[in-house]
Symmetry: C2
Subunit: 332 residues, 2 copies
Amino acid sequence: MSGAYRDAGVDTEAAAKAVALIADLASATRTPEVADQVGGFAGLYRIDEHRLLAAATDGVGTKLEIARLTGRLDTVGIDLVAMCADDVACTGAEPLFFLDYLAVGRIDPTRVASLVEGVVDGCRRAGCALLGGETAEHPGVMAEDAFDLAGFCVGVVEEASLLGPHRVSEGDVVIGLASTGLHANGYSLVRSALLPAFDLEITPPGLDRTLAEELLEPCAIYAPDVVALARDGLLHAAAHVTGGGIVENLPRALPQGLGATIRRGRWPEHPIFGLVREISGASEDDLFATFNMGIGMLLIVEPTSADDVLARSSHRAFTIGEVTPGSAVRAV
Amino acid sequence: MSGAYRDAGVDTEAAAKAVALIADLASATRTPEVADQVGGFAGLYRIDEHRLLAAATDGVGTKLEIARLTGRLDTVGIDLVAMCADDVACTGAEPLFFLDYLAVGRIDPTRVASLVEGVVDGCRRAGCALLGGETAEHPGVMAEDAFDLAGFCVGVVEEASLLGPHRVSEGDVVIGLASTGLHANGYSLVRSALLPAFDLEITPPGLDRTLAEELLEPCAIYAPDVVALARDGLLHAAAHVTGGGIVENLPRALPQGLGATIRRGRWPEHPIFGLVREISGASEDDLFATFNMGIGMLLIVEPTSADDVLARSSHRAFTIGEVTPGSAVRAV
């Protein structure tokens, strides 16, 4: 558990305990069509003899607060789609459709439309249809200008193309795809460290744009790349760097008994991480446990496929580590 | 637009404007597999030659505030599943799986587990699997004990069994299935009218239990009935009474050029509606526009099927009206 993150009010131990309780409860609703989760990024449901649906839900978290503070509402919908569609893509599934849930204190049609514009933009980038949504007004419960966004994405994958730990072997190569910045993780820490130090509209040292612009930079959406590479048999597994860092997420794509070594310094560091390091005083391990540190998607590939994957990725891609015996995942 | 409801802070005109803007934006993401919405309760997506997926998202709204105020958290998850699964069932689709999104100020594993217990209970009642979920902690943005719940349900339907306006004819019978009370609609009005007048833990005149118990009574879940009746060819269309009253929702199941006459008094009135009528001073039309008034699901059937449907329903069922020429839907 990250000490810096607990200071920012996020309790990852309580979250882990809640997740365990939920998993136990949910098992009571299991039907024969529910497939074992492979990797845990999305739920899998058998739709016919050879295909599975993959479904994931997520929110944008407190990055929304930056949008609210600045009034720039038209990009956090991209983050919302990214968080869900890239979880779905980690199974190899192609995102088919998306639904959004927007809770607001008061419905202002212009503000709602701005938020949904971002969702539409995200759906285009992920290649899925916006199939529906709900805008819920909570007068007296939420402040008039408060809002929260949740998203749901469903994809489909041929069982033979399913990515996951079952395909991973010792010696496989870990390729990292560049993030665009913070994505949607660690914002409680960022807000508690950076907002007291800098106005959102000034350009902090080391950055080339305002803090607001930097903090609102939308997540990369990796799904089209991941799906295309998976379909061509070039991937064994994929891990979305979300809700924690590389070391927290990579094990979700590894089988029992295998770990990985990630070599820091194999990719360029985005300046925002330097600024957070400096202002928050967080340790390097805390930073790596909380933030993506420049890598938003991890692909695990056969060594002979690595060059192909590096060449075909539309995101900057780096060979950053390898799968190792034993269960330890370390960033060295 | 309900005058009483605007007083309670809910702006249905703004909501309608937002919905129109969203529909326009969403059309840009349309893919060939997206089917025309029939009735508008759920999005439809073609998964193979003969089957469609139906997907819907919804929240519980400010009914959650009653759960928060009383600390009784283990039933609003049933409402959440009901709101989504019964929208899906209006297409004739069998709910397959459900995902929940829970946003909290602070993760308290016991409280989270209580909320999810309700979701699990709802999934059992709807016959679907809880395939996944997200618990998001928003420290500093939401109060520690604040929470919001959103849900997402996917079902599947044979194209030949699809319910909707395309099947409805003049002279069809409207059957209403009894609600268990307020369900999850009109709570902003209920809260503004009843909470200043009564303590949640006392039994108001005309009720046989405390106001808290009455206001937390979970929604009925109609999906298993609707799906079974649809599969046996007994239904033409179905309309979930949600986000408004009977007159607001029935048109979603009717084709252009047809309306309906609903005869008030054909079903027993639940005492909670009498209490709301008395305390809020809302007009009968406002009440019918805001609340389900005792009917939570509307089934449109061939006159010759009506007796079968009435006999087979596991909810109390009443013949409450008929489909008429012209587009007016009236409660007389």
